[in-house]
């Protein structure tokens, strides 16, 4: 199974659509993963890889700029958490604005896949 890298690593001149789609989907994945509870960066990357059975991978170089961007846009909020006998880690949680955007993303992707299905018979489920 071919692996899909999120974001724009190896292509020299990625098309804008490609870039947007990748970034948009990556954004949605992150927001979705911290919807239930706050998670730290490595956990997010690991979950994406596990849940997609290794199809989607997020490396440190693309994950953190994206996290910082989301934080700057106010969609997620990071804070340092210290636990006994553990290193302190930065956990990210979804903000109100993040929840709204996540809903919006889900709607768009649903409509997108429905359209693909209608045209090309791709059933996402």
């Amino acid at each position: 199974m071919a692996k899909v890298y999120m974001a724009i690593p190896h292509m020299k001149t990625p098309s804008i659509l490609d870039r947007e789609v990748k970034r948009g989907s990556a954004e949605m994945l992150i927001l979705a993963l911290i919807e239930d509870r706050p998670r730290h960066g490595y956990e997010i990357a690991k979950l994406i890889e596990q849940r997609s059975d290794g199809v989607l991978q997020f490396h440190v170089a693309s994950l953190y700029p994206l996290l910082y961007r989301l934080e700057k846009r106010g969609l997620i909020q990071g804070h340092w958490v210290e636990r006994p006998s553990q290193r302190r880690r930065r956990f990210y949680k979804l903000t109100k604005a993040g929840q709204e955007i996540l809903k919006e993303h889900r709607r768009t992707w649903k409509a997108f896949f429905a359209a693909l299905d209608r045209v090309a018979g791709i059933n996402p489920a």
């Binding site: 690593p9 730290h40 960066g41 490595y42 990357a45 690991k46 490396h59 440190v60 170089a61 693309s62 994950l63 953190y64 700029p65 994206l66 910082y68 961007r69 700057k72 290193r87 302190r88 880690r89 930065r90």
Partner: protein, 891 residues
């Protein structure tokens, strides 16, 4: 284990992030890489492989590209060795913010500094705003810069500001070639008819070109024009704003209304603006002075003349032009015009001559106060700078330039002086307000007084003085505070030490404070003594409980002398009968009463004076009990009696000044004198001198003649009583009305008020100087205290050691007080030397006291000694109470 953090840190270096942010990212990413590495190990990778794989996933370039633009950069690259311009302005702003924080963090000290500066700036602004206005632009006339006052001048008699005779004025006006216009003013009284009692108003007859020459139009209606000279058209009048408001209820329909003046009907044609007050004084209305071609009289000098020279004509040219005419008049009319020249002076300069005398002296005194304030503040700031020396040293060591640090210290002092300026402005506002409370009867003779206030010029001055203060106060701390021996300072474990130069500067600042205060104290003391002498000086009158009022017998009814005499008799009879009245008299003028009457003396005994050499004497007609009423003592002979009447031989009283001037060594009583009216008088008594005009002038030679022999129309009623009250004034007014209801009573004023008014300018000068000197003394005391107190803190360790080694309280007292007193002695000596020079400036203002009055100097030295001892004693007492154990531990 691999050092992930180092990899990340190096990658991030090119982003120049803020240190805190960089540390966060390094930590977060470091953990991620560590987690990934451990996972890879668990998955069975060899250590080296795991490292390589982890690193390959950390694609730096890609990450840096994404982070750039997302994370804020901390610093633009700075070219080493010089500061970019933009950062200099940013630095200025930073300096101010820093200064503001410093100001707040030492709020108490800042407040003292601001108040000190405020005092210094406040007195300067007060004096500046009043003096600048009074001395340089007292009027509002558009033409005030060009206008000139024209006088007759007679070198022989020393008259330089002589009034002008109508005949001479007419000739000047017709023959001059340098003036656009010459206008004449004749001051007079106008009886304004009133339903109950007529009102007597001071006013002026003026040439019809008067208002145009000054350049001031009417606020309502119009002023005069040349057509108003025509017969039948000249019964018109222009009112002052004050009269229009008080007497006519500010009636907007006033123009065109008729009023009855001097029993004639006049039409009001205009009302002048509120601040128009010219000629200076209390004039309430202006009527046309119609030139009478037949009146070429040259004997009575009754006109005040103002001229507007043509543009481009210099003062000298105008002067020469009029003198050319004067010379021809001298030969044409030798009787009247012998020696009579013309003097042309700039109007503003002439009107402000009294104020200008005091200007340099006032500025010196307030500037001294400012200097003392600055020295004090500089002292406080220097001590502060010394306390921050370690700070400053470290900054200098880290590469801050000395200029940069100095700028910061300056920003601090400028900020303080800015606030000081605000305080000063408030004080100046109050100060000017206090000045304006001076009695109006006096101040109306000072042009511009009513306009005094804080205006734009004063604001600009305040800003300038504040900046100057900021620079003066900041200069020494900035220069000395930044001269730091870094090694020395960092090695030293003790409390921050004032460097040698800074403690020397502190001492000199205190010495200069003391010196300036002594100069001011000496000035104020001398002036004060002089003022005290004046208060107790012999004016030749007894002013307590004496009431004066003016009466005027105008109109046909009093044309004949007997009618005036009868009125006087009847009035004196009635007023004497009032309860509490102990003396009543009438006189043509009273001492200090702002009106004078002078006559030429033609002959005294066998001495006959040539026509053009006749001396002037002050002339007064009085009723017999006037002397009693006003309190002028009779030295020899007799006073007038009821028997000295019309038809009896002419008699006169002369004063001691007259006797000294004309009859030195001769018997006065029984001597004969002839005045210029040809009337012969026998001197029957010798009176004490009285002071008629300014108190510091010597007494005039005077001649008194009986009212009964020369009854005048305008007179003062002088009433001495057990007490003065409004009821008494009403009772006297009632008696005047009872004798003749048409006679106006005006200017009701206690004699003491005339004295007070004459004293008020000197009183003001003495008090303002005293206030300045007290402020300076107080500031100097604070300065001495702060220096001595600081030195006690510095020497705590040493004092403790001395006490431990057996020094007594007395020894410590001597040690500490000695430190302060040495400074006071040096400062005092310098100050005294300065005072001896500077008080010479005052000699013109002094009466009965020498500019080097030893008594004053002795008092000043005692005051200074007492204040300085107190200022030194307070810190000394603290030093004496030191516990040696604590003191030795004190670092």
């Amino acid at each position: 284990m691999h050092d992930w953090k180092n990899e990340i840190r190096e990658a991030l270096l090119q982003l120049s992030l803020r240190p805190v942010r960089e540390a966060e990212i390094v930590e977060e990413l470091g953990q991620h890489l560590e987690d990934r590495y451990e996972d890879l190990l668990l998955q069975g990778y060899a250590e080296e492989e795991a490292v390589q794989k982890t690193l390959s996933e950390f694609r730096q370039n890609e990450m840096i590209r994404d982070l750039r633009g997302l994370e804020r950069t901390y610093l633009e690259p700075v070219e080493l060795g010089q500061e970019p311009r933009s950062s200099q302005t940013a630095g200025l702003w930073q300096d101010l913010r820093y200064a503001f924080r410093m100001l707040l963090s030492q709020f108490g000290v800042s407040l003292i500094v601001i108040i000190t500066m405020g005092l210094g700036i406040g007195v300067n602004t007060t004096i500046f705003s009043s003096v600048e206005l009074l001395a340089f632009r007292p009027f509002d006339f558009p033409n005030q810069e060009r206008l000139v006052s024209v006088f007759e001048q007679q070198r022989e008699t020393g008259i330089v500001r002589g009034s002008v005779a109508p005949g001479n004025f007419a000739d000047w006006r017709e023959q001059n070639q340098t003036f656009e216009d010459l206008v004449a003013i004749k001051s007079s009284y106008f009886d304004l008819a009133n339903a109950s009692q007529p009102e007597r108003l001071p006013g002026h007859f003026v040439s019809t070109g008067f208002f145009n020459t000054l350049g001031t139009p009417a606020a309502l209606g119009r002023t005069f024009s040349a057509e108003d000279n025509a017969p039948g058209r000249n019964h018109i009048v222009v009112l002052s704003d004050g009269l229009w408001r008080t007497r006519f209820g500010a009636d907007p329909q006033i123009v065109g209304r008729s009023v009855k003046l001097n029993e004639d009907t006049y039409t009001v044609v205009g009302v002048m603006p509120k601040d128009f007050r010219y000629p200076v004084g209390d004039g309430q209305l202006w009527a046309p002075l119609v030139p009478d071609p037949s009146d070429r009289s040259r004997r009575d000098h009754i006109l005040q003349v103002v001229g507007l020279p043509r543009s481009g004509v210099s003062l000298t040219q105008a002067n020469e032009d009029l003198n050319r005419i004067a010379v021809s008049l001298q030969s044409e009319y030798p009787d009247t015009n012998r020696g009579r020249e013309v003097r042309v002076a700039p109007l503003v300069k002439d009107a402000t001559r009294g104020v200008r005398v005091a200007v340099p002296f006032m500025f010196i005194s307030v500037f001294l106060v400012l200097l003392v304030a600055c020295a004090n503040v500089a002292n406080v700031l220097l001590v502060r700078a010394a306390a921050r020396q370690r700070d400053i040293a470290i900054r200098l060591a880290l590469g801050a330039s000395r200029g940069r640090v100095m700028r910061q210290l300056f920003a601090h002092s400028l900020l303080l002086s800015g606030f000081g300026g605000c305080v000063g402005l408030v004080l100046a506002y109050l100060g000017v307000k206090a000045l304006r409370t001076m009695p109006q009867d006096f101040s109306m003779f000072i042009p511009g007084w009513s306009k005094m206030g804080i205006d734009q010029t004063a604001l600009a001055f305040t800003v300038a003085v504040s900046v100057l203060t900021g620079i003066l106060c900041g200069l020494i701390p900035a220069l000395i505070g930044t001269r730091v021996e870094l090694n020395q300072l960092l090695k030293d474990d003790g409390p921050s030490v004032l460097g040698k130069s800074s403690s020397r500067a502190t001492r000199w600042l205190v010495i200069s404070e003391v010196a300036f205060s002594v100069i001011l104290l000496a000035g104020a003391g001398t002036l004060f003594r002089s003022f005290q002498q004046l208060l107790h000086a012999d004016f030749g009158i007894e002013a307590t409980n004496v009431l004066t009022m003016q009466l005027s017998l105008s109109g046909e009814r009093y044309a004949a002398a007997p009618s005036r005499h009868n009125f006087a008799d009847a009035l004196i009879g009635k007023v004497s009968a009032l309860q509490g009245v102990t003396g009543v008299g009438l006189a043509s003028t009273v001492p200090l009463g702002y009106s004078y009457n002078r006559r030429e003396v033609a002959r005294i005994g066998s001495t006959v004076f040539a026509d053009d050499r006749r001396p002037f004497v002050t002339f007064r007609t009085i009723t017999p009990r006037y002397l009693e009423a006003i309190g002028t003592p009779l030295r020899q002979g007799r006073a007038f009696t009821e028997q000295d009447r019309e038809g009896t031989p002419g008699v006169a009283l002369v004063n001691e000044a007259f006797s000294k001037q004309f009859m030195a060594g001769r018997q006065v009583i029984g001597e004969n004198l002839v005045l210029n009216n040809g009337q012969r008088y026998e001197v029957v008594g010798l009176l004490a001198n009285v002071i008629n005009d300014d108190m510091d002038e010597r007494a005039d030679a005077e001649v008194y003649v009986p009212y009964a022999q020369e009854p005048v129309r305008d007179m003062f009623l002088v009433t001495r009583s057990d007490y003065t009250s409004d009821a008494l004034v009403q009772a006297i007014r009632g008696e005047v009305s009872a004798v003749d209801p048409s006679v106006p009573v005006f200017k009701v004023k206690p004699l003491q008020q005339y004295v007070d008014e004459r004293l008020s300018a000197k009183k003001m000068a003495a008090y303002s100087l005293a206030v300045g000197a007290l402020i300076a003394l107080l500031l100097a005391a604070v300065g001495i205290y702060s220096v001595v107190a600081y030195s006690v803190t510095q020497r705590t360790h040493e004092i403790g050691l001395r006490i431990a080694l057996g020094a007594s309280s007395g020894d410590i007292l001597k040690l500490v007080v000695g430190t302060g007193l040495r400074l006071v002695l040096i400062g005092g000596a310098i100050g005294l030397a300065g005072a001896l020079v500077l008080t010479q400036l005052l000699s013109g203002l002094l009466v009965g006291v020498s500019a080097r009055d030893p008594f004053t100097l002795a008092v000043i030295i005692s005051i200074l000694a007492a204040v300085s001892l107190l200022a030194c004693y307070l810190p000394a007492r603290r030093a004496m109470k030191l516990d040696p154990l604590n003191a030795l531990r004190y670092q």
